[in-house]
């Protein structure tokens, strides 16, 4: 899990995935050939010129975060969100800004000074600001610039019973799974990408697929688990601890039924717990990849994660390991029986 810790704590908001890219390249350089493209995707090819089918595995490097949009005369910073963030999770959190990881806090009027009515209304982003302790605009400009990205300041830890806690588990968990798979050897051609800018519109993956031209694509995501109080059982998207989740349909994508059933079959054959992803909300790189060119058969497999797109998300280590196992056996199954 050390790699996952490094990945989770790295800064990689959509548009600036450098730190994540560097960690992955460093970790995996002996297992594959790497290159980058015009958008910053990290593309790879395993060194064996293997047999068909050509299998692509992918996960996105970027996370949702914030961008500093102006520095006020009094030294406070205004910002906007990058990717889908619920405004209500922002207040009273700490962030790190820019490549130098300058610390800042998102503060709010103390409750002692609020009207009772005020406390009932959620604070919107345009009313919030980041405090880095600067005296004034000039002082702030020594440390931060307009356009700097900010992410949540969360330490990655293992808590409870085999639970990992950290920021950006969507989709650093996916990156971790793909990284672990890359360290294994297969007879078939394995290629893929750690993509960019998924959170703001599935932007990197189409460009990656255009270059890779696989026969089949497996996308690894961290998808939301809504098995929490306040949600009815019928609204659970996935459940923590029940294994990797296989997507039938989301807002971007409908899986080919045969391909999807095959994944369940492989799971059953190898005694790996596996669950269907139940709602059709959300979108993933799978949606973009499927309709590139003449179309690519695509599968989306996700690790259930609670509280995605917030400063602290949670996932079950067993689910992570089972996802690695499941995709490993799926690749071996494609290797043996074709797609």
């Amino acid at each position: 899990m050390l790699l996952l810790k490094k990945l989770s704590e790295a800064a990689g908001v959509s548009g600036c995935e450098n730190e994540v890219r560097n960690i992955l390249k460093e970790e995996l350089k002996e297992y594959a050939d790497f290159k980058t493209d015009a958008l910053g995707n990290l593309l790879f090819e395993k060194k064996n010129k293997g047999k068909k089918p050509r299998i692509m595995i992918a996960a996105h490097m970027d996370e949702v975060g914030l961008m500093i949009t102006s520095i006020l005369k009094n030294g406070f910073l205004k910002f906007e969100s990058v990717g889908g963030i619920d405004d209500r999770i922002l207040v009273s959190k700490t962030v790190t800004i820019g490549p130098n990881k300058i610390k800042g806090v998102i503060g709010a009027k103390p409750i002692h000074r609020q009207d009772p009515k005020e406390r009932e209304n959620a604070l919107k982003i345009k009313n919030l600001y980041i405090d880095i302790g600067a005296k004034d605009q000039e002082d702030a400009e020594k440390k931060v610039k307009i356009g700097d990205y900010a992410c949540f300041d969360t330490e990655f830890e293992i808590i409870g019973e085999n639970i990992v806690k950290g920021k950006a588990l969507d989709d650093r968990i996916g990156c971790f799974v793909v990284a672990e798979l890359l360290k294994r050897n297969y007879e078939v051609e394995i290629c893929g990408a750690f993509t960019v800018q998924e959170e703001i519109g599935l932007r990197g993956s189409g460009v990656a697929v255009y270059q890779l031209k696989p026969d089949v694509a497996i996308v690894v995501e961290g998808t939301f688990a809504s098995d929490v109080p306040g949600t009815k059982e019928e609204e659970y998207n996935t459940v923590l601890g029940m294994g990797p989740a296989v997507t039938t349909m989301d807002r971007s994508f409908i899986a080919n039924k045969g391909m999807r059933d095959r994944v369940f079959e492989v799971a059953k054959k190898n005694n790996i717990p596996c669950q269907p992803r139940r709602t059709n909300l959300g979108g993933t790189d799978g949606g973009r990849i499927q309709s590139i060119g003449e179309g690519i058969p695509t599968i989306v497999i996700s690790v259930p994660t609670r509280y995605i797109h917030s400063p602290v998300s949670m996932a079950d280590i067993n689910d992570i390991n089972n996802t690695i196992l499941l995709i490993n056996f799926l690749i071996l199954d494609y290797q043996e029986r074709g797609i």
Binding site: C16, N22, A38, G40, E80, S81, V82, I146, V207
Partner: protein, 350 residues
């Protein structure tokens, strides 16, 4: 080159999204004056090409020539005309506007609704919806049917005016001002030796979904794509930090839609040549051709430069013409400063 005259010439094209193939003749003629070759692609994008001294990389500069407008949906029995929007129209500006309907002939009309005297007090405080509005041409149903059909385009009557301090006002400056900026750039480029090939594209259908940029970029497949569009200019009812000042130069965008090295290069050129500029932090969707250009084929390193513009999408859009000239100069200097090594370095992220 007199920028105001060029603008007025471009503005003679009445081209709501979809009408470009029929209505963009003036733009094509202007392009022929600045590019070696000019062609029109399948959707109507006008593409000009100019070769430099050496090097085979391609730089594409794009601005959309289409404007927001309307379309006839129904001609009612008494001759009143109902319409749909083409692009993002603010319904509050419609009441009392003079329009032109492009049928077999161009017919003038005005947008009207139920008289205020007959409205309930609470009706009057609400903005009128498209369904409450209609166009009155003063013609009878029979006469109208001879000239106009369902599906005909409707544009706002246009009379560009010059205000103080090089301020210029008209509708459709979004983004014909950008098209003018492309021509300014080509004019400036005459002074320099440059490498590679420059493609200037007046794109179509940006206002309805950034569409022309998709196909024109696919066809050209440039190594660098620069989109020129308009950005919100400073007015009293918006916080200062959310707008750009008119007359203080182009707004250079940065963010996920923009290649970081292109942003840095444009900024350093502006500083080196003392061109005033402003910074446009854009956290995700930029709503411009840059968004389509960037993910074409295997990806295109993209930049976005905006002209500060007040009252966007109204009939009184206002800008400072000096800003347009500054953008032309900035891009020309950029093109003159890059070479194959710079271009290849754009794909390298470590």
């Amino acid at each position: 080159m007199e920028i105001k005259e060029i603008l007025k010439e471009i503005l003679t094209a009445h081209v709501p999204s979809g009408r470009e193939p029929e209505g963009s003749g003036a733009v094509k003629v202007l392009f022929k004056n600045y590019f070696d070759e000019v062609r029109v692609d399948k959707l109507g994008n006008i593409i000009g090409k100019k070769k430099g001294n050496e090097g085979s990389f391609k730089v594409m500069i794009a601005a959309h020539m289409d404007e927001i407008g309307m379309m006839v949906t129904k001609i009612e029995e008494k001759g009143f005309i109902r319409f749909a929007y083409v692009g993002g129209i603010d319904q509050r500006i419609l009441l009392g506007q003079e329009v032109l309907i492009h049928g077999k002939k161009i017919i003038p009309g005005i947008i009207g609704s139920k008289p205020p005297h007959l409205q309930e007090p609470d009706e009057k405080s609400k903005a009128l919806k498209k369904e409450d509005l209609f166009i009155d041409t003063g013609l009878s149903y029979e006469k109208i049917k001879e000239i106009i059909n369902v599906g005909d385009f409707i544009t706002f009557k246009r009379k560009p005016i010059e205000l103080m301090n090089n301020h210029f006002s008209s509708n459709a400056l979004d983004d014909k001002a950008g098209v003018a900026a492309i021509l300014c750039c080509m004019e400036e480029l005459k002074k320099f030796n440059f490498k590679g090939e420059v493609y200037g594209v007046a794109t179509v259908q940006e206002e309805v979904g950034l569409r022309g940029a998709i196909t024109s970029t696919y066809g050209i497949y440039p190594d660098i794509g620069i989109a020129i569009d308009v950005g919100h200019g400073n007015i009293p009812d918006l916080p200062e930090e959310e707008t750009f000042k008119l007359g203080k130069g182009p707004a250079i965008a940065l963010g996920p839609n923009i290649h970081p090295k292109l942003y840095e290069k444009l900024k350093s050129i502006a500083e080196e040549y003392k061109i005033p500029y402003q910074i446009d932090p854009n956290p995700s969707y930029t709503g411009t051709d840059a968004w389509s250009i960037q993910i074409t084929r295997a990806g295109v390193p993209t930049a976005l430069i905006s002209i500060p513009l007040r009252y966007m999408h109204t009939t009184v859009e206002t800008l400072n013409t000096e800003d347009i000239k500054l953008i032309g100069r900035l891009i020309a200097l950029f093109i003159a400063s890059i070479d194959t090594e710079f271009v290849e370095g754009l794909k390298c992220f470590y």
